[in-house]
Symmetry: D2
Subunit: 311 residues, 4 copies
Amino acid sequence: MLQTPPTRFAYLGPEGTFAEAALSSAVPPGEGVRQPVASVPAALAAVRAGEADAALVPFENSVEGSVPTTMDGLADGDPLVVVREVFLTVAFVLAARPGTALADVRTVVSHPHALAQTARTVAGLLPDVPALPASSTAVAARAVADGEYDAAVCAPIAAERYGLVPLAEDVADHPGAVTRFVLVSRPGALPEPTGNDKTSLVVVVADRTGALLDVLREFTVRGISLTRIESRPIRDRLWVYSFSLDCEGHVAEARVGEALAALHRVSEDVRFLGSYPRADGRTNRPVPGEAADAAFTEAGSWLARLRAGEV
Amino acid sequence: MLQTPPTRFAYLGPEGTFAEAALSSAVPPGEGVRQPVASVPAALAAVRAGEADAALVPFENSVEGSVPTTMDGLADGDPLVVVREVFLTVAFVLAARPGTALADVRTVVSHPHALAQTARTVAGLLPDVPALPASSTAVAARAVADGEYDAAVCAPIAAERYGLVPLAEDVADHPGAVTRFVLVSRPGALPEPTGNDKTSLVVVVADRTGALLDVLREFTVRGISLTRIESRPIRDRLWVYSFSLDCEGHVAEARVGEALAALHRVSEDVRFLGSYPRADGRTNRPVPGEAADAAFTEAGSWLARLRAGEV
Amino acid sequence: MLQTPPTRFAYLGPEGTFAEAALSSAVPPGEGVRQPVASVPAALAAVRAGEADAALVPFENSVEGSVPTTMDGLADGDPLVVVREVFLTVAFVLAARPGTALADVRTVVSHPHALAQTARTVAGLLPDVPALPASSTAVAARAVADGEYDAAVCAPIAAERYGLVPLAEDVADHPGAVTRFVLVSRPGALPEPTGNDKTSLVVVVADRTGALLDVLREFTVRGISLTRIESRPIRDRLWVYSFSLDCEGHVAEARVGEALAALHRVSEDVRFLGSYPRADGRTNRPVPGEAADAAFTEAGSWLARLRAGEV
Amino acid sequence: MLQTPPTRFAYLGPEGTFAEAALSSAVPPGEGVRQPVASVPAALAAVRAGEADAALVPFENSVEGSVPTTMDGLADGDPLVVVREVFLTVAFVLAARPGTALADVRTVVSHPHALAQTARTVAGLLPDVPALPASSTAVAARAVADGEYDAAVCAPIAAERYGLVPLAEDVADHPGAVTRFVLVSRPGALPEPTGNDKTSLVVVVADRTGALLDVLREFTVRGISLTRIESRPIRDRLWVYSFSLDCEGHVAEARVGEALAALHRVSEDVRFLGSYPRADGRTNRPVPGEAADAAFTEAGSWLARLRAGEV
């Protein structure tokens, strides 16, 4: 549990984005103050500067892949840690002002990515209607509310916020896209282990054959599974590689702690990005008996007795 | 060398995009026919359908990360292979119609990503000028040429194509972003090994602790370095993981061939995405003597003699 | 199958030793000519010189451990290969001339090792009878036949050969000791794979941390189990280590052949000591599907198609 | 340092054996009481029973290989630990009573192993003189002193003890054989780390492909080199394997301690056989910076801060 519950949240705005929806699913409505900010770097900077207690930003997307600005924003600068992850199904609606019928629509507007992800479906609903760009899906919804365009492709939360009604729901061409958001804060008391946690890291290694193998081995010998790995270029540093990865388990657990300490010893750098409850609806693999905390504790006692000449 | 040089190239359009610039750097001007297409999937589909001989699409970007539509487009569907990679520095210009001065600019337009990557610089040059979205940087340039807006943030090639002139060059807030494009074609004769090649793969493994370690081990035991790795979700298949990776070397070389054959045996699936000359300006690590083709040949002869009872 | 069945066998003598018994169990009585020799080096030298076609020598013993003269004799000098292994339970009898009763025995004689392994049992049968040394158990049996002593601790075959009768059988203090003998010959056509074979090797590696791990990895990545390993000093060569090992499988099988070829590439030296039917009464672990010959063949075809641009 | 210096030493007798010579080189003459015992098991039993404080027994020999009775005697039964290792060059002399000349010698006597290791040299010195067996080289020397035979092949210490004089020194056919002896005692305060120590272990693992690799990995990931490894059969337990091994370093050091604790967790059983100064005249490999105690300490502090939310 966080020592002091965050009360000031920054999120990737504007209002009505999926990030706001993700924040609402993570923090009960009415709790804390929420502030949209213009970009991921701005959200992280607000937390680092103490202007916000936590920021809700996108981390990766099942369609778009990882979000480099978040990855890089967490890997560089003052330390920040993930305290929560939130998975949100990206459901687009085609929304219009109340009273507008499909046949009335002469223009449709949205962020180009959203238009791309819904192109076929929208074209089926609105043949020959031009699709126009906006700087975000929320901006598009607001522009429709303002009467500039007839319909917007946007998040349900944006339609609701701007008083629009859906002409069609789930208009994504490939439904089921999921975005993983993370809630990050300055280092502080870690979330309590729940038995179903993940830990995120960035590991920097010298550029030699087998370097990544050596990193992975530190997890495997301790019975820890990875759930994500990605090599990342490092700006301004030749001959080193960086890996962004998530593993199962919590740093408070012995196997994860020992693995991190080992990586701290053997790699160029390890940045801890947090241990937090797993929220993708899946359950960590069972921890093998020999990798459980009890086994580490017992082995530590055995070693102590052995060093004391009692075995 | 390709058996028949491709003569019909598809590229991620519209005209004037960075993809067109990348294609120009890969294929001398005047060679082949070039066709812009609306999306990465459309470009790949054109090659698969035989409507194009090769497609030039973005693969990863040092700012935006990997391009999921390309990753997924190559991993699924009929086989395609990379025959060439092209690295292009993403240089934005602020462009206007001839005769327009900075002081005359009342509106600036571009793709939202380009606006985001140049926001600070453009705001310094054009304080209080509204930045408006377009569906691509090339579309923005054309709209300026058509007189709809005063200035565009776009690629130099787009400015040139639409008769614009630069008001400012290199307007990216963080200059030096590089995009890696790939030229893909249907399987056919592979590019000749050059001694400085890369090989791209997708490997699908069962979801168990240590599975990735086992994959990497097949490279490391044969002295092969990886240059990129990324775990990828697999649509519709639970309990398996997919890794997209690049390694040094060419499949025609013994160590790479044996590693791929081993992965073919031990993994759920391996998809070969091509062996092609390395083009990022870096040189592969020296191949250790024991991993060179000569060592494999000699070891093969030794084994044959031994099986024949001659050793 | 051996090209020409060996007809002249050397074995570690004198007549009546366990080695002769092992040879009899490996080669039907009446087949070939059998020649006892004074030592393991002499037996191996006879084969190398062409004076014998094969030699039967002890390799390791469940009580005494490996037999260094055999290990070293195979590791150095002209190549020899194991074509057969034989396991023999070392059963000692207390033997005397016909007509001798236990109460008549005033002296007992044997090789000191045999006396040590039977000390308690013999002392129970013959309290206060002095145990005297001989240079082999067979020599002891002959000396009893010659009337020099009253009883010998020897192999059943020695008692039989010298016309003695057992006063007591199975007089080992810890029954069940097993000696593994090997039949070695000059390189030639290998024994046919039987599906339950072992392969013996000596691998020499540079003396660096992890060198042995790298050797074992070549087996593990190809699904091969080891059944014995032993580090061995190397005379006259500093900074290198030697490992003597047995693995499951036959060099004619793809996974074993590829592993040996890999070791040939990456180690200082590999000496092949033969592939031969497993004879310890145990069955090799099932070969995982991905390590079977069929999988290697299929993967090789896949690789060939891929290199030809057909995938 | 031992809590109480051992004062009662058992050694593999009889008086005049190489074991007594090894004990003399390990413990200054005049220190403690020394008791020859009949066998390795008897020596170990004396320590276990508290009848002796330490036992000096042979561990391995460069000609004969490891000594199974010592290996097994340490692996089974109540715990014992090695507190010292001693390397002794096995130098044989041909010894006779004072006044005997080579030409006077009509019989030569020794343990059969010693006769075998000196056969060629002795035959050159004493052509046609029969070589007769004794139950130990020391017994042979005593028999010569008693006038039963003319000359003995024995250790210099035995010649000296029984008042014999050498007719020839260094009569081994292959000079330079070295025996490694160990001084074992009941568990107690460990020898202090010296910076050049070895640690001995027995590790029991389930019988599955890759099990040994997993054991070795625990050493390699922590930068620890092995100096000896040997697979050992386990009496009465099917489907498990045992490995006897020595590694560089002292259990009081972090990397060795963590490796042992890990093996304790993941293997069927680990038996610690002691950490003691390396005495083979070689120096441990330099400990890599990341495996030194300081690196473990620093990593532990880093982990503690990270768990406390201070990083």
